[in-house]
Structures are given as C-alpha cells and as structure tokens.
Symmetry: C2
Subunit: 169 residues, 2 copies
Amino acid sequence: MDVSEAIRNRRSVRKYQTRNIENDKLDRVLETGRLAPSARNLQEWRFVVVRDGSRRKRLAEAAKGQTFVGEAPVVIAACATVTDYVMTCGQLTYPIDLAIAVDHMTLKAVEEGLGTCWIGAFYEEEVKKVLSIPPEVRVVALLAIGYPDESPFPRPRKDMDEIVAFETW
Amino acid sequence: MDVSEAIRNRRSVRKYQTRNIENDKLDRVLETGRLAPSARNLQEWRFVVVRDGSRRKRLAEAAKGQTFVGEAPVVIAACATVTDYVMTCGQLTYPIDLAIAVDHMTLKAVEEGLGTCWIGAFYEEEVKKVLSIPPEVRVVALLAIGYPDESPFPRPRKDMDEIVAFETW
C-alpha cells in the first residue's frame, strides 16, 4: 500500500474484532516506530505493549472510561524517557519525536490491515500506576490497535487554501 | 512505494539539486499534511511555502546559518494557530498535531522521490519576521524539501528490546 493510500485510509477506529494481532504484524508496526527520526537522534521513546485483558481494562478506566480501549487486543503506551531537551525554536523534542514514532505506527498499521486510535484523553498518573512506569517518564499517548470492526467516514478537513500560504502568512 | 519502504528510505537530506519541485508534486505532499489527524480534529496548522530565493536565504540565517536551508528549492514553515489546548494527559495538542502533519509530508516526499530535512534549530522570532507570521502563532518546524543530491547512511537506531517492553515498564 502506498503512503498516500495509507494516509487517506487511516481512521480513528473505536470498535475492534476480538481476533488477536499476530506477533509478526505487531513487530512490523513497532519497527516503524523504532526507525522514526528524532531530534539529535535521541530516540527518547519506549513503548509498553499491553495484551493482558485486566490491564487493558484498567487502562480503559484511566482513559476516562473509554471502553473500546479495553476491547482492543493491544494497547501501546508511548512513553518519553528524556523530557527536558528544548530545541532552539523553543519546542520540547519529546512530544514531537514521540508523535513521529506513533504516527509511523498508525500508518504501518493501516498497511497491515489493522486499525488504531490515538488517545490523549487519559490520566497519566493512573496509566503510570497500571504499567509501573517510573515517575520521571512521560506518557505521551495511548495507541489502541486491532482488526477494525467498523469503517468510519473520514472527518471533514479544512480546504487547502485555508491551511497553505505562499511566501508569507 | 509502501509505507515501510518510505519509512526505511527516509533520510535527513542536507544537500539538494538546484532543480525545482513541480507544483503537482508539492501539492501532493501538502495534501498529506492536510489529511493528518489532530486532537478533536482541530487542524491547528498552517503551512507557509517559501520558494523565493532571498527569503530562503533569510530563513537559513534564522536557522543558525544552516546554508542548506537556503539551497533547498522549497522551505515550508509549519505553524500552529491554536496553541493553548491541553489534553487530559497533560500534553499540548499543537506540537503533536503539527508533528503528525509534517511527518506525513516527509514520508510522502520520499514516495515522490524528494528529500526533506526537519529543522528545529531556528530562531522563531526571526522566522516570524521573515514570513510576517502573527505574534500568537507558533512555528513548530521548518521543513527543507527538494530533489536530494546526497544519499546519507541511516543513523544508528536502538535495538528493539531497548525500546519495547511487554505488559509493564
């Protein structure tokens, strides 16, 4: 599947089949996170892969009760291990670097016939408790992943001329 | 080109051919940014596309004198228009959402035979002056883009077992 197609076909999937994800598929998804670029090649990420059902249920509770999080066969907690590096432009590297890695995984998942949902609505301290994540680490995203059991329509996007300017603002 | 191949082949390219980028190619790259997912579908991005040579030179100066920025035929300033939305997990949406959009563009560029370099080392206020960007907007990244005139080796990556954990940290 080419890049454009994966980008066009990606959806936030909130309903999953009970079918599990094959290990080799999951490995290929994780590999695209591993290969992500990062500022100064910091690679300040660690991905906690959760398959255990009771743990996923507790993650769903930490995600404000979004039950589909517990129904996805796999939930990945995307964590940042270096959280104080600021680029000259004034931005912290870690939210950006983690976002690149997770984005790669969402697109590779589409290519593998899987669906994902990127979750930012969760209580970080609760997630850290469930997964024994050290205090100094930040959890940037939860990623639910599994075989989709729905085909949501794409959400509307702004027109190109609203989001692109030439030469100056 | 499939997603894995684009991810494997992506490099930070710092040497470009003088050849310009065809408009339709650039449009297809920008389109993948337009289609990016964002928190609450905010789409809080605006991309300033710079082709003008003297303006690119000034961006290169703002990027701490990284001359290749002025040599790339196109530089895109990736800007955030909503900068105060914080998700439950404690993260601002804008660095993450902008990173997803820019990441899409870097991968689509590979598919189009183009190279990119994601730049975080720039003085934001200088860039804003050059491109007449309003004070309340944040410039999250500069993206140099053009036909590559070098094939850098991939930088080393951590092993999988260093960055992946199962069930708990």
